[in-house]
Symmetry: C2
Subunit: 307 residues, 2 copies
């Protein structure tokens, strides 16, 4: 198992690559924008891709926004794109529960309002988000806390109200091996503007996994499910598609897992040094995280499109 060769994408090579694909899958944060600032040239690059007849989709692990919220942000930053082009982990988790797992009963959700909205839109019954502070007088009360007998799945997404009581309830449900265990994503940190970051959903997932002695099924990248959702709704040929992302361990690895071409853009999380260091790794997973190409910014795609 070997990944890509991590070549710079420029000149005739860039035009050749773009001619060989008809679908581009973009991660969002760190690729198209950082916080509320679009990456310079991103709008022009996306517009040129669309003019050249390429299909453009957006794949994000972030579970704190609905499809509609992403479409609104794409519009606000001049990037274009409709709700149907956005495949976020909240939306795809709802799809999974409805279409793949065909969940009967409810989901117990550690997560935020956007995840709840996507579940509601998909008709997935669930126990909603919000604070769940300490109740009762001690350990016995927490262990005996009322569990809903209709719950058949535990879903973990980003939740700023994550608490010990939520962890205890998740464990209570997951003691039943028939209870599904899903996580929107496993990112360990959520980068913010200016180099700041906060704990990511992966931290909450690890806490629940450690309590339950079980591993969650991850919906987000590097799992292939977001791509499968795009392909199911849009008839994509993986040999004519490219994944463009800023993270080796999610975007590029998912691209590899799905047989797509991959481009690392250096406006976000991962560095070129990291990508190059993985080329000679004795770890197959690390070699799978080496992209085929890299660009300093997706604006670097523009010259090849204007030629």
């Amino acid at each position: 198992m070997a990944g890509g060769r991590c070549r710079p994408l420029a000149g005739p090579g860039a035009a050749e690559l773009l001619a060989s694909v008809d679908t581009l899958l973009f991660d969002c944060d760190g690729v198209l924008w950082r916080g509320e600032q679009a990456v310079p040239g991103a709008a022009e690059a996306l517009a040129a891709l669309r003019r050249a007849g390429k299909r453009v989709f957006f794949l994000t692990n972030n579970s704190t926004k609905t499809r509609a919220m992403y479409a609104a942000k794409l519009g606000r930053l001049g990037l274009g794109g409709a709700e149907r082009d956005v495949f976020g982990s909240a939306y795809c988790t709802a799809l999974y529960l409805r279409q793949v797992a065909r969940l009967r009963g409810k989901a117990y959700v550690i997560g935020g309002e956007a995840l709840s909205q996507e579940l509601r839109a998909a008709g997935v019954a669930h126990l909603g988000p919000g604070p769940d502070p300490v109740r009762g007088g001690g350990a016995g009360d927490w262990a005996a806390g009322a569990l809903d007998p209709d719950v058949r799945a535990v879903v973990v997404g980003f939740d700023e109200h994550f608490s010990y009581m939520k962890l205890t309830k998740a464990l209570g449900y997951l003691r039943d091996n028939a209870c599904l265990f899903l996580a929107t994503n496993a990112d360990t940190r959520l980068p913010l503007e200016g180099g700041a970051f906060i704990p990511g959903t992966g931290c909450l997932v690890k806490a629940v996994e450690t309590a339950a002695h079980r591993q969650a099924q991850i919906i987000g990248k590097p799992s292939r499910f977001l791509y499968d959702c795009v392909a199911a709704e849009n008839d994509v040929d993986p040999s004519r598609a490219v994944m463009v992302g800023d993270r080796l361990d999610t975007d590029i690895l998912m691209g590899f897992n799905c047989g797509l071409k991959t481009i690392l853009t250096l406006t976000g999380f991962s560095t070129l040094e990291e990508a190059k260091s993985y080329q000679d790794s004795d770890c197959p997973t690390k070699r799978s995280m080496v992209p085929d190409y890299y660009v300093h910014s997706i604006a670097d795609l523009l010259p090849a499109l204007q030629a």
Copy 2:
């Protein structure tokens, strides 16, 4: 590296073993009691050991009780024992910060009131326990949340008020590699009476480790630090000491790590089947978790003491 042979401790073998040791180290929950019920015969066994001139100490990973609280419970259940005989993970964490790390500055504590009390008694300045619910309007506010510039250590113990905000603060402190990172213990579950259990400290530790991209130093068993505290205060010869516990992965492994004899008692967490299955494991750590002896209950020690 090989562990013990998992022989039943009875008859002449038991008398021989007890003659070969002068110090017995007991785990508490699952060994001496379950909840508020003493294990039948435990009081008699401890009394007989003391009459035979043996020294008896109590080593517990539970960080939710102080030395004084443990001494009170030992008295209440007729088991005897003074504060100075109790080595809990809360007390030993305080010792570590004061005597080993010689902490200058404060500790940021994810933990409960007992841990705070032990830190206070040891003169370790710290930011105290209690609820820390969501504040501010969003991710930027949480990342920018006020951090105390005097904090030089993060300590994770059992905390029913564990929250995303606490996780975010811990990450904020641990970004500085000079900040110590300790955990009272890494038990994944806390067993209660009647087969119930709740998430253990290990779940909270994993969440913080995942965010910080660092591993906590564990104070509790199977780390040897609790034993080192006993030995420092009491001049113990490890070749004449035995660890008696109900968990292979903490009690027995610590005994092995410290060069002690080990006895598994079957009144608690681990089973004889589990212990036997580890004998032929190809994993050295699992083989290190095989006890030298097992008893069905520590009351089984009585006949050898009454002979």
